[in-house]
């Protein structure tokens, strides 16, 4: 049997009295895209750093491709690519020089580097910018260059810590296409993201909060774990609707969701009439109710609130 790409078992990391990661176990299968989602300070970055060996853990074991990180650190690090949240490109080096630097660090041979760099630059549409200084690239292009640097030594697994935070939607779409392409080439991707629509694109998703894994599964599985139903409410007076329904006992939570509201209720059949009468009493008459399949964000919010 093929060992998982990443196997985290009972890992704990403390910073003084703060427990950043607490007896956390999860595994990432070979060749999958696994997305880690959680609030700020949940321990996402700490977990990433533990997996790439940048931080030492206090307890537990970590295996990458079956190799024990604690015992075979060098081998593990050679097969892993890590892109931290603020990836350190050298702004005063050109695109090619940045790549060459990271290639040299990982001991990529000259011939291999040539092949690899050409492919990566072509795949990332950066071929024409080889001589440009990293500082002069746009935000989306910097992100792509950082990813290229992470991939220069052909790692079998890459760890990406919020790679698209602060990137505009179009660049994000493009970035994810590249991720899919890399993944199709066999690379395992372990990515953290604050964007729920991105998590939706992953094969499996882990919800993390306060250093522990809350739940883990495919997006469909996670949504099915949600007990209760989601009612979508369309109204011009979103704020009023939310205020009036927040105290309704049959509504577990109600949140604005783009241009509509999502109410999480134990049963739609019971809750919709109750909500309707409340809104009528508050003179909100344009509300339209519809039961919808839950989104990943619904599942996440519900899981966090329990």
């Amino acid at each position: 049997m093929v060992p998982p790409a990443i196997e985290i078992s009972g890992v704990t990391r403390r910073f003084g009295s703060l427990i950043a990661v607490q007896r956390l176990s999860l595994h990432v299968e070979k060749g999958e895209i696994f997305a880690l989602v959680g609030p700020d300070g949940a321990g996402k970055t700490t977990l990433m750093r533990l997996v790439c060996g940048a931080l030492a853990m206090n307890e537990g074991t970590l295996r990458v491709d079956g190799l024990d990180l604690a015992l075979q650190t060098a081998e593990v690090q050679a097969s892993v690519g890590y892109m931290p949240q603020r990836f350190s490109l050298y702004p005063d080096l050109s695109v090619m020089e940045n790549l060459r630097f990271y290639g040299a660090i990982f001991g990529v041979s000259r011939a291999e580097f040539g092949r690899r760099a050409t492919t990566l630059l072509a795949d990332f549409a950066l071929t024409d910018f080889g001589d440009r200084l990293a500082d002069d690239l746009s935000g989306g292009m910097k992100q792509k260059l950082a990813l290229a640097c992470t991939l220069i030594h052909s790692p079998s697994t890459i760890l990406l810590d919020e790679p698209t935070a602060g990137v505009d939607p179009v660049s994000r779409r493009e970035f994810w296409r590249i991720l899919y392409r890399i993944n199709a080439g066999g690379t395992t991707i372990f990515v953290s993201t604050p964007y729920m629509d991105e998590a939706e694109r992953a094969k499996r998703v882990g919800f993390i909060a306060r250093g522990t894994l809350l739940s883990c599964g495919t997006p469909a599985e996670l949504k099915s774990h949600l007990t209760g139903e989601v009612v979508e409410i369309t109204s011009r007076e979103r704020g009023d609707v939310r205020r009036n329904l927040r105290d309704e006992p049959l509504v577990r939570s109600i949140e604005i969701f783009g241009d509509v509201l999502h109410a999480l209720v134990p049963s739609a059949d019971a809750a919709i009439p109750a909500m309707r009468s409340r809104l009528a009493a508050a003179n909100v008459s344009d509300a339209v109710f519809r039961t919808i399949p839950p989104s990943l964000e619904d599942a996440f919010v519900a899981r966090l609130q329990t």
């Binding site: 609030p39 935000g139 989306g140």
Partner: protein, 310 residues
Amino acid sequence: MNGSAAPTIRADALTKRFGDFVAVSDVSFEIRAGEIWGFLGPNGAGKSTTIRMLCGVLSPTSGSAEVLGFDVARDPEEVKLRIGYMAQGSSLWNDLSVQEHLRFYAGLFGLAGTKREDAISHWLKRLDLYGQRARLAGTLSGGYRKRLALACTLLHEPQMVFLDEPTSGVDPLSRREFWDIIVALAEAGTTVLVTTHYLDEAEHCNDLALIYDGKIVASGTPESLKRDARNGITAEILSPDTVRVLDAIETQPFVASAGLYGSALHVCIRERDGLDRLSQFLQEHAIPVDSIAQVTPSLEDVFASLVGKR
């Protein structure tokens, strides 16, 4: 309030050049009192530069701007007294505590005594910072840093606030809290200019403007932008292999833009009969598809079709 329809902000042909580079080119718009005005666009399109000109941090190369009735170039100090600005990057002192930050800003804006303490404790509680008040800003996580920056911006009850990516790096749950506050501010009469990369957030805005390459390329309410016929029709494709579909259709002339949308694929098509041509094309090339349906475009689709293929 003079109660008239005088806009809170009037930008008139604002232009900013840095050397040869035109960061903002001939940008004009108006923002009415009490509205949430969303400013969208890719990184480097000119959003922050425009905001900086409106706040009096940068002087425009040409054009003018009026904020709360004052000319920014002539009376920058009058403007600065009445606005709140939350910059995109970090703007905190790592070696000062949460409470010290708030005291500092209170001092800058002349709040003192019980007024100061009331304002500080109000925002500490409202932004869930009370438990963190003695912590140094340098030890806070990204989301809490944003909370603190927002508290510092709102402490002196500005009539107009500029929020440059207030929610970037903030988790989904906290983002909702932020937007609760923003909506409440607007309802209380504060005018809000906000930029964001989360287009679901942009739906909260009364008005939107999309900036690209320093020029405003589209503006209007979220609904009108989505309805705008010029943006064509949007199809949602579900497929076991979305990337393959994407690779195949992307280069087709009838496709205006295509991209991953969650786990699905959204395709913008300019022509009316585009949907038929799309299904025909996929059938001809034997690309497996679970379903194709026309959907209301999301703001992200609008954004992509305006910006993506240029």
